[in-house]
């Protein structure tokens, strides 16, 4: 079996060309960050978000993990832009697993993404 056969085509696309990987460039609005390092669970994820008027206007991520983790971070980052900061903690790892066809044994890694988003939401709460 080739390495690629273990991943859905969507995961392969997102892994190969993440558009929101890296750090936020300078810009207007408030800059928040949330990070969870859980190496023993197979993932280390950091999100940065720019917030203006309670809305998330830009998101960037950095992640260490398997292709499912990297692809899921890119996917999530894309869904966050335009959302209200108050809605940040709503992501469900099971929904993410279903959307990207992530195998059940990797759900724990997606929970690390959930935790990083909660940390980001908490940073927003502290800032206000």
């Amino acid at each position: 079996m080739s390495a690629a056969a273990a991943y859905s085509s969507r995961v392969q696309e997102l892994f190969a060309a993440p558009r929101r990987a890296g750090s936020l460039p300078d810009g207007p609005g408030e800059r928040l960050a949330g990070e969870t390092a859980a190496v023993e669970r197979g993932a280390w994820v950091r999100f940065e978000a720019r917030v203006q008027g309670g809305l998330i206007t830009a998101v960037r991520f950095r992640a260490w993990g398997c292709p499912h983790v990297l692809a899921a971070c890119e996917f999530v980052a894309g869904t966050l832009e335009g959302q209200a900061l108050a809605d940040l903690g709503d992501l469900d790892a099971r929904w993410l697993a279903e959307a990207l066809e992530v195998p059940p044994e990797k759900l724990g890694r997606l929970l690390v993404i959930e935790d990083a988003l909660r940390a980001l939401a908490a940073a927003g709460g502290e800032a206000h």
């Binding site: 390092a37 023993e40 280390w44 260490w64 993990g65 990297l70």
Partner: protein, 394 residues
Amino acid sequence: MSEVPVYLDYAASAPVHPDVAAVMAECLGPSGLHANPSSTHAAGRRASQAIEQARESVAALIGASAGEIVFTSGATESDNLSILGAARAGRERGRHVVTSRTEHRAVIDACRQLEREGFAVTWLTPGADGRVAPAQVHEALRDDTLLVAVMHANNELGVVNDVASIGAGCRDRGVLLHVDAAQSVGRIPVNVADLNADLVAFTAHKLGGPKGIGALWLRERPRPAIQPLQFGGGHERGLRSGTLATHQIVGFGLACRIAAADLPAEELRVRALRERLWSRLEGAGHVRRNGGPGPSVPGILNLRFAGVEGESLALELEGKVQASSGSACSSASAEPSYVLRALGLSDVAAQSSLRLSLGRQTSVADVDRAAASILAAVARLRSLAPAAAIERLA
């Protein structure tokens, strides 16, 4: 047009040498060696002669005599026949076996089977360099030790054990020594007279021969007692019944002749290529070599890049470099390499490791292309990772 991926998985299996493929095809052709080599008619005798010629070539590669070679289906069967066969034949003399935690699964699983049959097995943990020290083995010997099984070269790390010293101590105590030499035969000079071993397993497909054929060398004097694992026909002096696969054996024989002729030059060439690859990859920074310095087979380079997750690296290299993130034989499992774990590496470090193995068809251009692909993959994955990951996951 996209380039063909660079094949750097020779430790898993080497491409069949073109001359070997040709001679095998001839064997299988209409005027080939189709008769049963056990048959007494002319066609059978022709097949039998070809097999005996091949046996001479296989024996010559390891400094043995043809009568000491038993053909099997590969190193896994040779390991099983040797370990299970010797232990079962000698169970009245002793029921203790010594082996290491970094042996190939063929040896580990055979020893586990012996445990189920009532044998005690001492599992040695190699040093951080990946080698089993002779003193470790000798200290583990007991009055009831029947057999020691230690590999010559490790299949993941390439490090070579001092089998001769291990064997000397075993011989002093009247203990049999089995050596899995699948990774060393044909790649470094191997002479069974120097190994102080009683049983040596090896295979064709690691040295340019076909899959499905291997050999077990049994010392002639004194000859170790072995119980066969399969019955029916009494082939191979009763140790391995079953019609001999003429074309496989002929291919194995030619592969051994080619390996013997080319070994001195190939060993140096491949070793130099490996070091070239390492010097290129060192440029990535935060890269460590698994397995210590010292004697090694020429073609294996096992390393790990800090801050790079192994599964992502494998996908990133898809279509560019064909290598192994561990022993190919166990890569169906997502578990980290037990060999690297035995050396004290964490699960994360073991999973981040990459085994690159070079061989006969590897060229300088291949090495440079593979290095460029790996460096690009490592750089991209690190650029995606949190800044502290490289330092913390070193």
